[in-house]
């Protein structure tokens, strides 16, 4: 064959190949053997209202399902928390439910190797152990106030040596305690910023990792753009320019642990002004004079050195609390991460309360659209769908750990929480857990804690589950969220509540219902008379369906109802709380930096690390993605002699971590910031060996008042380590944020 012929045949073969690739492969139509929903529309699908359980904010969501599979999750527009919005975690829940690493079957741990067993054998094993334990069982959850927690409280309670605890988000205890001392209910006070003209955010990274990012971001947006004639102003005070801080008008880099002092300093100016102008007569002049006396040592001139904000500027920030009352202060991780977290929260709530009082008298309007639900209903819901706040403190988790070390428990039940990974390593939870003879984990994924357990029971994802949930904060209306299965479980999983009820009944323990769905239905039916706005003409099933269609129950505060403003338990009793102690830090003078561990919106405390979407989502400020980083102020970076990507070692008395450095101008020079949630070792392919776990650095420093872990009280050192990596960023290095940071 000559060259010309060879080329011709070659061209013919190449083009034939291209044509072949254009052809359509045989397509198949694979219908369900039994359709999951009778008459389900294969294109339009169905929409179900339920409640997102990716965190405990309790956002109402609507799930679109097609052919029995969840396709899309969006906010429920009638829900008072989500208001039609959904955050990154809720959106990505469809990736979790269909995750390839989900646990598919019950498994038993045989010398470190997990073997699949049947549900009958698994439940039989649990029953046998519960009988032997005869009390002496502990239950640990993730801080959820839900029907499972209520059922467990009912089954196990604190009888015969049983113990119940929560591995809650750090610092929530201080937010609850700080509010509870001024108000008469143990819930986190969550300010509605919608109508606030001026708000000071005190370490409140609310839009990405707050108590309820969706609700708080919504009210933030309403304040900014929801009112045609007004634009709310925001000042962020804290050590790091977080995404929320970047959205504010001004960032004040106040030193760690001094935000409560700033609040009291503002309070001093406000009280002084109120007395001078003779405002807020309902408070009484004697009370005001008492407050002035108590606040005498907190004048801006006396405190500005500690706060590192000019006295004049403190006065400027205080002015709107009188002139534009009600103005607001919002507390966040930057307040409760220290040993004075509770007293700082109290100081902040005091200023809010006082400004509300001034505003009420000025405008003659009630500030908060609040309905007090019937006390009987509140008590019933709290008793059945949650744990008492005192069972959810970090101090209690410490007591549990000590108990395990002392061999006090024979059976441990762990539900959807990973304390081996996300509590300080110095707590030694893993070592303590080894002392418990039989541990059960209810989980959707293998993780660092589940791998330590003897029996692994794969739980339904919340999209496949029944539950009822009470949000951990108070957004102005009492809310009972319902969670219903929106898709049919496709793995050999069972709902934790149903398994525990079955096992407890077989072990001879009194149980309140045969399964979780009937438990929830029974509780709601008993209290139906108190559920305003559920039409009374409906029968039991109809009212249940009515609530499921909405995603739960909450009173419609535009129709009827008695508007009330949360009132201070006793204004005159507040003065005793107007004290802020200095924060104490863990680490001697050889550790020169304050550690600032923070949650990102996508990683949370680490549970987002096994999702590709979460790694792909860039951090809003640094724009880093698919990797771990350690933030250092650029001035300090040059002092240490490192540039972006150089590996550094951060050490505390309890351990050390390494990672690439990211010089970040939005950080105080004396602070090192580290995102938490990285550094997994047993959480799946995407999570394992990505970065380091900031929890390895923390000691056990507790806010004595609330029992919360003071997770930002650790001092650390930093040194240059070997090597360098390229930082993966989703923005140009001279992007808009960076420019603004330098201007500040």
């Amino acid at each position: 064959m000559d060259r010309r012929s060879f080329l011709k045949f070659g061209a013919l073969a190449a083009s034939s190949g291209v044509m072949g690739a254009c052809g359509q492969a045989t397509q198949k139509v694979i219908p369900f053997v039994i359709p999951p929903e009778d008459g389900a529309n294969p294109v339009d699908g169905y929409h179900y209202a339920t409640t997102c359980r990716e965190c405990e904010a309790g956002c109402g969501v609507v799930v679109r399902t097609v052919n029995g599979r969840a396709k899309k999750i969006e906010g429920n527009s009638v829900h008072p928390i989500s208001n039609g919005r959904a955050c990154v975690k809720a959106q990505a829940a469809v990736q979790r439910v269909y995750h390839s690493e989900r646990l598919t079957d019950p498994m038993v741990n045989k010398n470190g190797k997990f073997e699949k067993i049947s549900w009958n054998d698994a439940i039989g094993m649990l029953v046998e152990k519960l009988k032997i334990a005869n009390g002496k069982t502990f239950f640990l959850n993730n801080g959820a106030n839900d029907a499972l927690a209520g059922v467990v409280d009912s089954i196990f309670g604190e009888k015969g040596g049983n113990f119940i605890a929560s591995n809650h988000d750090f610092g929530h205890e201080s937010l609850i305690a700080g509010g509870s001392s001024l108000f008469d209910f143990p819930k986190i006070q969550l300010a509605d910023m919608s109508n606030a003209d001026f708000t000071i955010l005190l370490g409140a990274d609310m839009n990405e990792s707050g108590v309820s990012p969706v609700y708080q971001a919504y009210t933030f947006g309403q304040s900014r753009r929801g009112r045609p004639s007004k634009r709310g102003r925001f000042v962020y005070c804290g050590s790091r320019l977080s995404p929320t801080a970047a959205s504010a008008d001004k960032w004040l880099p106040v030193p760690p642990g001094q935000l409560g002092l700033l609040a009291l300093s503002i309070a001093q100016v406000v009280v002084d002004t109120v007395i001078q102008r003779e405002l807020a007569p309902s408070v009484g002049r004697d009370t005001l004079m008492g407050w002035r006396q108590a606040l005498n040592s907190f004048t801006p001139e006396k405190t500005y050195k500690k706060i590192e904000v000019k006295a004049d500027y403190i006065r400027r920030m205080a002015a709107p609390f009188v002139d534009e009352a009600p103005a607001l202060m919002v507390a966040g991780d930057g307040v409760v991460g220290f040993t004075n977290g509770t007293s700082s929260t109290e100081a902040i709530e005091f200023v809010n309360m006082l400004s509300a009082e001034i505003g009420r008298e000025k405008t003659k309007l009630s500030q908060a659209k609040t309905l007090q639900s019937n006390p009987t209903l509140k008590a019933a819901l709290q008793a059945n769908f949650g744990l008492a706040p005192e069972k959810q403190s970090f101090r209690r988790l410490k007591i549990l750990t000590d108990g395990m070390v002392g061999n006090e428990y024979k059976v441990g039940i762990i539900s959807h929480t990973n304390p081996v990974f996300d509590t300080p390593k110095s707590l030694k939870f893993k070592e303590a857990l080894a002392n418990v003879p039989f541990k059960v984990s209810f989980s959707c994924f293998m993780d660092e804690t589940t791998v330590e357990c003897n029996l692994v029971l794969p739980d339904n994802h919340w999209l496949e589950s029944w539950s009822a949930q009470l949000p951990n904060f108070r957004p102005g209306v009492p809310i009972l969220n319902l969670v219903q299965p929106t898709v049919v479980p496709f793995l050999n999983t069972k709902q934790a509540g149903d398994v525990l009820l079955e096992a407890a009944a077989k072990a001879g323990i009194a149980v309140p219902a045969k399964n979780l769905e009937s438990f929830i239905g029974t509780v709601i039916e008993k209290n139906r008379a108190y559920l305003k706005d559920v039409p009374t003409a409906l029968d039991t099933k109809e009212s249940w369906n009515h609530m499921l269609q909405s995603g739960g129950w909450w009173p419609n505060y535009n129709i009827g109802g008695q508007a009330e403003t949360p009132k201070p338990a006793s204004l005159s009793a507040v003065s005793k709380n107007l004290i802020i102690e200095d924060p104490s830090f863990d680490g001697d003078d050889s550790y020169q930096f304050y550690l600032h561990p923070y949650k990102t919106a996508h990683m949370g405390r680490g549970n987002g690390a096994n999702q590709a979407w979460m790694h792909e989502a860039p951090d809003p400020v640094t724009t880093l993605m698919w990797q771990f980083w350690i933030e250092v102020n650029p001035v300090m970076a040059s002092t240490i002699g490192v540039v972006e990507g150089d590996i550094v070692k951060v050490a505390s008395p309890y351990g050390s971590i390494t990672g690439p450095v990211f010089p970040f101008a939005g950080l105080r020079p004396d602070v090192i910031a580290v995102p938490v949630g990285y550094g997994h070792t047993k959480y799946g392919e995407l999570a394992n060996n990505v970065g380091s776990n900031a929890m390895n650095l923390l000691g056990i420093t507790i806010d004595k008042t609330s029992g919360a872990l003071a997770f930002r009280s650790q001092k650390v050192s930093i040194t240059k380590d070997k090597g360098s990596v390229m930082m993966m960023r989703n923005a140009h290095p001279r992007g808009e944020y960076k420019g603004e940071i330098f201007q500040l």
């Binding site: 080329l7 061209a11 198949k28 053997v33 529309n41 294109v43």
Partner: protein
């Protein structure tokens, strides 16, 4: 302009190769999409020898008993084995093909039917809208109730759709189908 004769030998070879490839591609493209290959009735082998004739013609079972979504959705839907068992729970269980269906049902294993009718991704078609206008199934699917083995009787080129739309004064705007 560079004359062909002035090109180097290598350039001539490359250009010749590309030219031949493009020409061959165009010829094959025409034959594949416009020529007789595409018009050949598509009659794939199905995992179950299901007969539309037996069900829809001999036993007069309405089309929408099985294709339940046709009047409510873009897609007509293919029934699951459970729907087959509505009748075959008590009808002709001994037949070899029905035994296959029963096996799928009892083992919860879906039947993997092979698609006969399909449209390109750039065409939006709604069964619901056509049924609402009383367009019969046979208009597009041919005399399917007479077929033991389903085959494609139309080429489903754009002309086929437009002829019918014009005849029935249905919209002929581009975005009616190419949304």
């Amino acid at each position: 302009m560079v004359k062909f004769g002035s090109l180097s030998t290598t350039a001539k070879v490359v250009l010749g190769f590309i030219g031949t490839a493009i020409a061959t591609f165009l010829v094959l493209f025409y034959i594949f999409y416009e020529g007789p290959f595409y018009l050949v009735a598509h009659q794939p082998t199905q995992p179950i020898n299901y007969s539309h004739k037996v069900h829809a013609d001999d036993n007069k079972i309405p089309c929408q008993y099985c294709h339940t979504f046709a009047r409510r959705s873009e897609m007509s839907g293919v029934p699951g084995a459970a729907r087959c068992m509505n009748c075959h729970e008590s009808v002709k269980q001994e037949a070899p093909e029905i035994k296959k269906v029963i096996a799928h049902y009892e083992n919860n294993k879906p039947i993997e039917w092979v698609k006969v009718f399909d449209l390109p991704d750039h065409v939006w078609f709604s069964h619901k809208k056509h049924i609402a206008k009383d367009v019969s199934c046979q208009t597009c699917h041919g005399p399917i109730e007479k077929m033991d083995v389903v085959s494609r009787t139309n080429d489903f080129q754009m002309g086929f759709c437009l002829d019918c739309h014009q005849e029935n004064e249905a919209p002929t705007d581009c975005w009616t189908c190419h949304t």
